[in-house]
């Protein structure tokens, strides 16, 4: 069947066999950040956004994204760099193979939750496995990133207040 979708905001028309998986469609289109770790929906490495919601692309048929917007880490390079820096500062990126799926899901979490607790972070990302890090470094990176974002937001608010006072 023919499907039309948007991969990282670029319209793509593809001939897709009925059993083609989204992960293979994406990798065949040069989105190599999308990794296959387990084939059974257990590891989270293949996480992408479909219409802004994180899904496992190894468990999604390509046909189901017909007419939808798909985002991979290739389409989120600035956010990946911003947040990824905090993971790298902990040395928690390690082998890096789980990073794209983990970072996709972390970005989804940041968009969804303002100030998640450690428990909320662990729950949100429970489906993203990592064999290298023991997760602690990832958690430290997430916390540092959130603190930075909050201090940035606080500063922006303060600046806005000052401006309004001046006006």
């Amino acid at each position: 069947m023919q499907i039309k979708l948007w991969i990282n905001n670029k319209a793509v028309i593809k001939e897709a066999e009925a059993d083609l998986l989204l992960i293979d469609l994406l990798r065949n289109n040069g989105c190599y950040s999308v990794k296959r770790g387990c084939e059974t929906g257990n590891c989270g490495l293949c996480t992408v956004f479909v219409d802004e919601k994180p899904v496992l692309s190894c468990s999604t048929l390509a046909a189901r994204v017909n007419g939808k917007k798909v985002t991979t880490l290739e389409g989120l390079q600035r956010e990946a760099e911003d947040f990824g820096t905090y993971i790298a500062e902990q040395g928690a990126e390690q082998c890096g193979f789980c990073n794209p799926g983990f970072i996709m899901n972390a970005i989804a979490m940041f968009r969804e939750k303002q100030n998640p607790s450690d428990e909320e972070i662990k729950e949100y990302l429970a489906g993203n496995l990592c064999r290298c890090s023991g997760y602690e470094g990832q958690l430290r990176g997430i916390r540092a990133y959130l603190e930075y974002q909050q201090s940035k937001a606080a500063k922006a608010e303060l600046a806005a207040q000052n401006i309004s006072e001046v006006i």
């Binding site: 059974t40 257990n42 990824g84 990126e93 390690q94 082998c95 729950e123 429970a126 023991g134 602690e136």
Partner: protein, 762 residues
């Protein structure tokens, strides 16, 4: 400790930003799209002989390029173990054999244009098997009438006590002092048998390789491997072609943990490319990784401890039975660590020990290298036995360890008579005790809600490379404008060795880590390195880097001497400049680099090779607090404290994450990871649905600290850290479970079911 500029700092990994932004850097990302897809038909039987195999129908599937059976491959046995030649592992494999030795053993290789065609062809190959009775239990394997390797051309290159007519992959016995006499003089003897199961390395990137022919007609193998040079030999042996016809290189590796110290996937696409002349790739599925690779050796260990009433441990006696499975990869060598690393921990008052072992063949998946490499199994048994001894003597588990633990400066008879030249195990224990508040926490406390909170402790040691065997090399070169290129053949599998080695170079050359570019690993261009395993890279290759940089500095001073018209001995290297000792004149590194490229006959490149006659052990202590739910048997981790002595910590971030990652793997081994078999020899845990590794919900806070020693023979005082960190969770958790339930669990993993059975609730 000396003040360092870039060492002992949390330097960011050189490839970090590529990895966090998802750049295409791994094998399957860079393989050309026109590669033939290679898959393997696998045996459904644990033990069978192929009577007939018909590939005619399968070959007719459109898109199929070739199908190979045992009739097409070289009749020359080899081993897949990545070890220095002559490998202690027996030569017991063919690329394809007509005898199948486990469920998953390779029957045929299929290559085609696309997955669909290859999958279809796999189904159309008709095989007639004569199914044989398998030997599945490691206890029944030795001298069984069923032989796993009856073939005449089976060969052991080293005298490791192997005998294929007895299902023996290796056997040995070593003794120091008079064990039986010492034991007879002891007040108390503890004797128990422990059983550790096979575990999967479960790195996130499965095994994967692509192969192509280069313009010279040579086979170029691009593979996710820890061992480029050994792989070249393994492939030459398997394919029966000269090593000069093979080039091996590795891109980024998505985790290894020892799994990629064995050549698992490479031979199949390599064979296809050699036969067809076309590029080919093999990407292992997770199911293949779980069922047709080389996980940890299952072991059964019987420990006898002889001690006095005051807790003095005088004699140790260990028998290890190790299951190598269908093939002998790493079988003869892993088993040694189960004794050498566990007995040596209790060196302080030890008068005698005996260590003997058998490594047996069975009809299950072949075992191989996995982080800890036998020490993990031995330390679980030994540490559990010592905790049992402490309990029997009514002594504190920390106190008995403090009394008997190995100390700096001691000769260690069980550790090849090496001296323990750097050891802060005692301070590790003290520090861990303080962090954990050991003496103020009860062994067990009823929380009043059906749960019991308890504590446990364990120690561990490992090694830093294989003494007198491992070889590391480094080439350092000065380039234009004064930057350096470091070339290595150690393989960074995510641990950050590229960065760590660059840090060592930068410390020597008094520059920034950014001034060092790093390249590796490629057998055509990298200097020889035995590879990234045995916790060797920082210690062995790191020392090679240090030595190479020192030599390069001398060479640069000679060029500067020409420019400054003086003797090289009068000059001092200061990083960006070389100046005269009296400060009268100087020349910049940039000018030296420019000079080196014009009218110069002094090489600005140095290669140094390093090996070590010793293997200084890193040490660590782990303490755990858990809660056992007495109604469900579930174990919840509350706190884990780890204090590590790895000599000088080269990169503080990477060492911490290494430790946390190792603890997580050890916790998985302690609580849920296992490879189990049906009566027909089929693996039950053939996916991540069944084989559960810890998620972030399963772990507790992991509190890691370092108690640095200074190892004179290591680069800037460093030892290893990669493996030692996996060893404490199983015994520490088993100890805590005993304290909560009064039951010793001598078999891993300690599942809720076993806990309930132990307390009589099932």
């Amino acid at each position: 400790m000396a003040e360092f500029k870039v060492i002992n700092k949390p330097i960011r990994k050189k490839d970090a930003m590529s990895l966090v932004t998802g750049k295409p850097v791994y094998t399957d990302d860079i393989a050309p799209s026109d590669c033939l897809i290679v898959k393997v038909l696998r045996s459904p039987h644990a033990h069978a002989v192929i009577e007939a195999i018909d590939t005619n129908t399968a070959l007719k599937v459109p898109g199929i390029e070739a199908i190979y059976t045992y009739k097409d491959v070289p009749a020359k046995r080899f081993t897949l173990a990545g070890q220095t030649y002559p490998e202690p592992s027996p030569y017991d494999r063919l690329i394809l054999d007509n005898r199948l030795r486990y469920v998953g053993d390779a029957v045929a290789i299929v290559a085609g244009d696309n997955h669909r065609a290859v999958d279809k062809a796999l189904k159309l190959i008709k095989v007639k098997y004569t199914v044989l009775e398998p030997v599945l239990d490691l206890r029944a394997a030795k001298d069984n009438r069923i032989l796993v390797h009856p073939e005449e051309d089976w060969q052991a290159l080293c005298p490791v006590g192997a005998d294929n007519r007895r299902n023996l992959c290796a056997a040995d016995k070593s003794e120091y002092g008079e064990v039986d006499r010492v034991m007879s003089e002891c007040d108390v003897i503890i004797e128990n048998t422990y059983h550790t199961k096979s575990n999967q390395q479960a790195m996130m990137e499965t095994f994967r390789t692509y192969t192509t022919l280069d313009p010279y007609g040579r086979l170029h193998v691009i593979s996710s491997t820890q061992i480029v040079f050994h792989l070249r030999r393994i492939l030459a042996n398997a394919l029966d072609i000269p090593k000069s016809r093979i080039r091996v290189s590795k891109p980024r590796i998505g985790g290894g943990f020892g799994a990629k110290q064995t050549s698992v996937a490479e031979i199949y696409p390599a064979f296809v490319t050699l036969k067809t002349g076309k590029p080919a790739k093999m990407i292992y599925t997770r199911e293949e990784s779980q069922t047709a690779s080389t996980p940890r050796h299952e072991m059964e260990l019987t420990v006898r401890v002889g001690a006095m009433k005051d807790g003095t441990i005088r004699g140790l006696d260990l028998y290890t039975l190790s299951n190598t499975g269908a093939y002998g990869e790493h079988g003869p060598t892993t088993v040694g660590l189960s004794g050498h690393k566990s007995i040596s921990l209790y060196n302080n008052n030890l008068e005698a020990y005996r260590f003997h072992y058998d490594v047996v063949y069975t009809n299950v998946q072949s075992a191989g290298a996995y982080r800890g490499y036998g020490a993990t199994q031995g330390i679980f048994a030994m540490e559990s036995a010592i905790s049992e001894l402490a309990s029997k003597l009514n002594m504190d588990a920390v106190a008995i360890r403090e009394k008997n633990m190995v100390r700096e400066g001691q000769a260690m008879p069980a550790y090849y008579n090496e001296y323990n030249t750097s050891c802060t195990l005692d301070s590790c224990m003290k520090k861990a005790g303080e962090m954990f508040d050991w003496y103020n926490k009860p062994y067990a406390r009823d929380m009043g809600n059906g749960k019991i909170r308890s504590k446990g402790v364990a120690m561990a040691m490992q090694s830093s490379g294989i003494s007198n065997v491992d070889v590391g090399s480094a080439t350092i070169k000065l380039n234009d404008e004064g930057f350096y290129a470091l070339s290595i053949a150690a393989a960074d599998m995510g641990t950050g060795c590229d960065t760590i080695l660059a840090q060592i170079a930068a410390e020597c050359l008094e520059c920034e880590v950014e001034d060092i570019i790093i390249f590796g690993a490629d057998t055509d261009s990298s200097p020889y390195d035995s590879g990234s395993y045995a916790s060797s890279t920082t210690y062995i290759t790191g020392k090679a880097v240090e030595k190479a940089c020192m030599e390069l500095k001398e060479k640069l001073c000679r060029i500067a001497a020409v420019l400054l018209d003086c003797q090289a001995e009068e000059l001092i290297f200061t990083g960006k400049k070389i100046r005269k000792a009296d400060g009268s004149t100087e020349v910049s590194l940039m000018d030296i680099a420019s000079k080196s490229m014009s009218g110069n006959s002094e090489a600005t490149q140095v290669t140094v090779t390093n090996s070590s006659p010793v293997s200084p052990p890193p040490h660590m202590v782990g303490m755990v607090e858990i809660e056992v739910d007495m109604e469900t048997g579930s174990i919840e981790l509350l706190d884990y404290v780890a204090v590590v002595d790895c000599g000088t910590v080269i990169n503080t971030n990477l060492a911490r994450v290494q430790t946390e990652g190792g603890l997580a793997q050890g916790i998985g081994m302690a609580l849920y990871e296992e490879v189990s078999y049906s009566k027909k020899g089929q693996i039950r845990e053939n996916s991540f649905m069944q084989y559960k590794i810890p998620t972030r919900m399963d772990l507790c806070s992991l509190r890691v600290e370092f108690e640095s020693s200074y190892e004179q023979s290591g680069p800037f005082g460093a030892k290893s850290i990669g493996e030692v960190v996996i060893n404490t969770p199983p015994p520490a958790i088993a100890h805590a479970v005993y304290n909560a339930t009064g039951v010793w669990h001598r078999e891993l993993p300690i599942t809720p079911e076993k806990v309930l059975m132990g307390i009589g609730k099932i």
